[in-house]
Symmetry: C2
Subunit: 225 residues, 2 copies
DNA sequence: CATATATTACTGACCAGTCAGTCATTAATG
DNA sequence: CATTAATGACTGACTGGTCAGTAATATATG
């Protein structure tokens, strides 16, 4: 198990093989994410993932015990940072609930357009049922945390009198729905859609509806900077 | 090769075998729908579908050319009537846009709770990508028609001055999202969810947000009958 | 040569789709 | 009505291909 008597310290670059060993898991999960999102979990072959990562299938098994373990790693690695980014936003905009919601929506869109992470919701919806353990993990680590995030945001708005007093718990899901559908749409029907609504316009409409739906009747429009 | 001289017309019931032949396709698509929704298209074996319908796999091929053809039949048969029901609602409540929206939401929920049809959106999202032809069919016959339906409803409301003048095209998608997510949720994470929001409460919240978000500022609350 | 890293060829389970054949019902014949 | 012929719905064993996972082998590193 342990090693450590190298005589002279060879402290310089561990050269290729050693460096590879540290980079590999990330390269593999990245390749897997891209392919899972594109074709679905079941329809993606391990050979393809390996090829995309520039290794052979056998190598994959040096880093992950099974296809399911790889699946779980993909979710874990991809989503947790995203959730943390959201939690950071909450702290940054504590004093302006409308602005906070706006930032959360656009942050989400940023993620969607610049990374393949937006494919994860679709992936979980599509294949989660066949992998209870991964599903549970996703539920606990992603869904629940995301809910807490939005709960805090809405609660803040209601407490400050910016939003009407609503059924926060239920509204969260209503507000999250358009965000999730935006992601799902992109990975499901975007291909078929001809003259469909552009994401930017869709997001504007979402914000419009949500803010008008939540806003305290007295409150003025807040035309933003 | 040729037949046709039966002398007397034997026109009455052709008993079991003949009756079966007419009932079979429906029985098979029903079985397939249930299993596809439960496990996904790829993960469902034709043997299981056949067994559930009380026949053998070979029989299945007497009625459908391939697994994909069966898939398409399931969608076609299940969804088209649902869309037509929606179109009927539109005509029934032309004069009261708020009521119309309300009826459409609750009609949808009715469908969800009393039939497995609510599983179809999830199914299409999950597996549509691998079946372009089915996907296109769904897009044209379901998504597009559903959009037209909601377009008409919103347009009516705006024309009557009940709703604010909004970006109708974009709002449709925002409004549809919670409905779709309700269906998706039921078939994906309902299992994991412990103290989650009840559908009825969720629907109320949806209506609350949508109607408040759309309502013309002047308009009064309309506390319904 | 000992260890860590990677590859390649292989195995076994699984499943969509096929096909030769069964069996129950119906029609034809005397 | 009894016997034979024809029909067609249905069956289930089989095949051909795919793919997750394994094991034997190779290459680099210290």
């Amino acid at each position: 198990m342990e090693d450590s008597h190298h005589s002279g310290a060879t402290g310089h670059a561990k050269t290729t093989a050693r460096r590879r060993k540290e980079a590999r898991p990330g390269e593999l999960t990245a390749a897997a994410l891209a392919l899972f999102v594109e074709r679905g979990f079941a329809a993606t072959r391990l050979d393809d993932i390996a090829e995309r990562a520039g290794v052979s299938k056998g190598t994959l098994y040096l880093y992950f015990d099974s296809k399911e373990a790889l699946f779980k790693a993909v979710i874990q690695e991809g989503i947790v940072p995203a959730i943390e980014a959201g939690e950071a936003l909450l702290n940054a905009f504590r004093d302006d609930p409308e602005r906070l919601l706006r930032e959360m929506l656009f942050g989400w869109w940023q993620l969607l357009s610049s990374t393949p992470l937006g494919g994860i919701p679709k992936l979980m919806i599509a294949e989660g049922g066949n992998f209870p353990e991964v599903n549970q993990f996703y539920f606990d680590e992603v869904i629940t945390r995301a809910h807490r995030l939005f709960y805090a945001a809405l609660e803040l708005g209601v407490a400050k009198g910016v939003f009407r007093p609503v059924d926060i718990e239920a509204q969260i899901q209503v507000i999250l729905a358009p965000l999730l559908m935006l992601a799902i749409w992109k990975h499901s029907f975007a291909c078929c859609a001809g003259g469909e609504v552009a994401p930017q316009r869709y997001l504007d409409a979402t914000l419009d509806l949500i803010l008008n739906g939540l806003r305290q009747p007295g409150q003025k429009e807040n035309t933003d900077e």
